[in-house]
């Protein structure tokens, strides 16, 4: 039971990270490899806010959300918009986002140095619950609740709002969307902003969950995020949610029954299997090729 809950908490962070990843891919058909850098930056920013400004960890989350969305706007403006009409926009976007990620990480190193950083002692509430005999901290519950709320909110936004309709229209056909009067550039920018904001909150929550932040933390979760969006289906929001939880659970059980050195194999084994058997993912729709 304890394992199950731990898996659920980690999984909800994976899901929140992956949902930002998959949002950009689903709407814009671009893989944004600066997403993991946003994840890392926001973890450091979160720690800084608690340590220097003395804010409570709860207050840092909305600020991190805003910081993330600003980073998203920068990523879109600098790394993606200039490439829009290039025949190799796919490859070029990967590289330009990697380059921008490198710059973000270098700036982090300038500000905080290469060492692991932690939240000051006593930043976390000490309340714990006992659920079916398992120990759960208030922080863990909060992580799960915040992640799920953000994901549900995003799903509603995409399904119901005017902005969401614009996103879905662009996902179908950007040219047609533009002709229909949708401000494609603005929707694209907003999509990046939301995506990065979610990635940023995921980063801050992750840092709280393990109480540490390192420069390389984005790279570690990047591969898992990719696994989650493939397993769930590229561009599928519920897919990213289920995929993330599934991966979190699979990992804790792999550690329990196979050994911790094989933990990371789970993600890649799962990923590979899905790609071979059902390339569109659990929740993805198959795209029909047109002549």
């Amino acid at each position: 039971m304890q394992q199950l809950l731990n898996g659920l908490f980690t999984g909800s962070i994976y899901a929140l990270f992956a949902i930002g990843f998959t949002l950009v891919f689903g709407v814009l058909d671009r893989l944004n490899l600066a997403h993991p850098a946003v994840f890392a930056v926001s973890a450091f920013v979160g720690i800084e806010l608690v340590e220097v400004a003395g804010l409570s960890i709860w207050l840092t989350l909305p600020i991190v959300f805003v910081v993330g969305s600003l980073l998203g706007v920068i990523i879109e403006r600098v790394a993606f918009r200039p490439l829009k009409d290039r025949p190799d926009a796919h490859f070029a976007g990967l590289i330009s986002s990697i380059a921008l990620a490198g710059m973000f990480i270098a700036l982090l190193q300038w500000r905080y140095g290469p060492n692991t950083r932690r939240f000051p002692v006593d930043s976390f509430p000490s309340t714990t619950f006992t659920v079916f005999g398992a120990h759960v901290t208030l922080l863990q519950v909060a992580i799960l609740v915040i992640s799920v709320l953000l994901m549900v909110g995003l799903s509603l936004l995409v399904a119901r709002s005017r902005l969401g309709r614009g996103m879905r229209a662009i996902a179908e056909n950007p040219t047609a969307a533009r002709v229909l009067g949708i401000n494609v550039d603005r929707v694209t920018m907003t999509t990046f902003a939301i995506s990065s904001a979610l990635g940023a909150v995921a980063g801050a929550l992750f840092a709280m969950n393990v109480n540490s932040a390192q420069l390389g933390m984005g790279t570690a979760i990047e591969l898992k995020g990719l696994a989650v969006i493939i397993v769930g289906g590229m561009g599928s929001l519920p897919g990213a949610l289920v995929g993330g939880l599934l991966l979190g659970l699979a990992e804790v059980f792999a550690v329990q029954y196979v050994g911790s050195s094989w933990r990371d194999m789970v993600a890649f084994g799962l990923l590979f299997l899905i790609l071979l058997v059902r390339p569109q993912g659990l929740f993805g729709a198959r795209k029909v090729r047109e002549v």
């Binding site: 025949p87 490859f91 270098a106 590979f272 790609l275």
Partner: protein, 562 residues
């Protein structure tokens, strides 16, 4: 200012980048190369003989052979199930493979686990550069060959490449295996230079570095990876030389430069160098005649012989009938016009004839094949060639190169012979160039040979599609709205061209909205409406058929109603 190791790392990084280049030229994004390199390095390091026993160079050569074989074999095994994946999906699947290899090696006894394995250092700088020269030579010779052009065609438009008779699956797999072999080569060289190899030497970051090197250098010219490697290896060296402190500034500037290159140099660093495009070779009249008799050897079906026979052919898209119960018999030398209102199912019908869409009912026989039952390139090989309603040219290739890809089926493979500098390869390439020039000339594009397809005007793109389709010496030529965007003078010239092609014995299926042109050009006309054949006959019969008039103009009642 530069040490020996800088020079070695430039060579090694370039070789690794070539393993990405090998697939990027075919438009594939793979991140599995680090996995191939890792497997090759550990296997070769454990199996190769001790340099103390056999000497340095023999030991290295044996290790290279082992490493390349391991890399190629791993690529084959990974490629068989994954080659049907495209774009990012392929990238992620191969990345997953590389990570799985890394975790596997960490958990193995014989590789020394996470500590890694110590390997004798026997690689000298000159050896690394000789190997790099060989790899660069490989891709230099590969470029302007039938194989090289086929890969580029696949990168630009996979479906059009199939329609030109290119076996896309095989080409993609062979490019992937080449990438595996070169990645293996890199792994071995790395192992025998750095003394200690660990699984972390071949991780995600290294794969990304390799990709970045190849793309920054340029993935459309063979010097690209080398330029990329010089650039990316020198950036930190130069920074150190001019006294920039270690720490954050170096990675920051390196990333910034990378960003600037990718934003402002779309073709990578290689685009700064002038590129020599294939030139138009018209040849003498005698040479043209000799080439045409050599390359156009197909025996076309003659009058009365079946070219296409459709019986009850239908296509359903989830309950929507795109085509229903089509019966059609086309014989040698006919010019069949296929007309009908928008959405009548014309394109679906020619897609089924050319093997791109599988029918849901009925049977089809095209030049002795069942087009629904075999791969598209086999239908093309049987003599079916087509143009597309929406231009599917190879955008970044020149007009001449587009037509040369069209000649894939009638030309001979030249890659291996070009590697060996055999004169026969040059002769075959020249023949293909002459043939392509002849096809361009026939559609009136001889003066546009060096222009990129994407830079041509719309009408010229339509003509280039026809020239490309002609280059495969087809028996059945399918033209899907070739006159769209042409004025009536150009349409008349096209009509004359179609007539002269029929004189040469080709059978032609023409889809066109320009009814005047169809009436003038075709020997027989088939009219489709709502997916069904509503009339067939000579142009006069069709012009006077009330059902056709109704389909085109609407019946008098519905006009009243509106």
């Amino acid at each position: 200012m530069f040490t020996e190791s800088t020079f070695v790392f430039i060579a090694l990084t370039a070789i690794f980048a070539y393993s990405f280049y090998a697939v990027l030229v075919a438009g594939q994004l793979s991140l599995g190369q680090a996995g191939f390199a890792s497997l090759a390095a550990f296997t070769a390091a454990s199996l190769a003989p001790d340099p103390g026993d056999v000497g340095d160079l023999p030991a290295l050569l044996i290790a290279i052979v082992i490493g390349m074989a391991v890399g190629a074999a791993a690529a084959l095994i990974l490629g068989l199930p994954t080659m049907r994946l495209r774009g990012v999906f392929l990238a992620i699947a191969t990345l997953a493979f590389a990570e799985a290899v890394r975790i596997l090696i960490i958990n193995m006894e014989w590789t020394g686990g996470a500590q890694g394995m110590s390997v004798p250092k026997i690689l000298e700088p000159w050896m690394a550069w000789v190997v790099l020269a060989l790899v660069a030579y490989w891709f230099w010779r590969q470029g302007p060959t039938r194989y090289g052009r086929a890969l580029e065609a696949i990168r630009e438009d996979e479906l059009a490449a199939r329609a030109m008779g290119i076996d896309v699956g095989n080409h993609r797999l062979s490019a992937f295996i080449a990438a595996g072999a070169i990645a293996g080569l890199y792994g071995v060289l790395w192992a025998f230079y750095v003394r200690l190899i660990a699984p972390e030497d071949f991780g995600f970051a290294q794969a990304i570095d390799g990709l970045v090197t190849a793309v920054v250098g340029g993935s459309t010219a063979f010097v690209g990876p080398l330029l990329g490697s010089v650039f990316l290896t020198m950036v930190p060296e130069v920074q150190r030389a001019i006294g920039i402190e270690a720490g954050w500034i170096r990675p920051f500037l390196a990333s910034l430069l990378l960003l600037l290159v990718i934003l402002f140099l779309p073709g990578g660093l290689a685009s700064l160098l002038p590129r020599r495009a294939a030139r138009l070779v018209t040849g003498s009249a005698d040479e043209r005649a000799e080439v045409e008799s050599r390359l156009s050897q197909r025996v076309h079906p003659t009058d009365g012989q079946t070219v296409v026979k459709l019986q009850g052919l239908g296509k359903d898209y989830g309950g929507v009938h795109a085509n229903r119960d089509i019966d059609l018999h086309i014989t040698g030398g006919e010019i069949i016009g296929l007309i009908g209102p928008n959405g009548a199912g014309k394109t679906t019908l020619v897609n089924m004839i050319s093997g791109m869409t599988k029918p849901t009912s009925g049977t089809a026989e095209v030049l002795g094949l069942d087009p629904g039952g075999v791969a598209v390139h086999k239908v093309a090989a049987a003599g079916v060639s087509r143009t597309f309603q929406h231009s599917k040219l190879f955008a970044r290739l020149s007009a001449l190169e587009n037509v040369m890809v069209g000649g894939h089926l009638v030309s001979k493979p030249t890659f291996l012979r070009r590697m060996l500098w055999l004169p026969s390869a040059r002769r075959d390439e020249r023949r293909l160039a002459v043939h392509a020039a002849h096809c361009l000339n026939r559609v009136g594009l001889a003066d546009k040979e060096g222009v990129k397809a994407s830079a041509l005007s719309y009408g010229d793109q339509r003509r280039l599609e026809i020239a490309r389709a002609l280059a495969s010496d087809p028996s059945l030529l399918i033209l899907d709205e070739p006159a769209a965007g042409m004025n009536h003078v150009e349409a008349d010239a096209l009509s004359d061209l179609i007539g002269s092609l029929a004189q040469d014995g080709l059978t032609i299926l023409l889809i066109e909205h320009n009814v005047g042109m169809v009436m003038k050009t075709c020997s027989r006309i088939v009219v489709l409406n709502f997916g069904e054949v509503i009339a067939t006959g000579t142009p006069e019969e069709i012009a006077n058929n009330p059902a056709v008039v109704e389909a085109y103009l609407g019946s008098s009642e519905s006009e009243d109603a509106s």
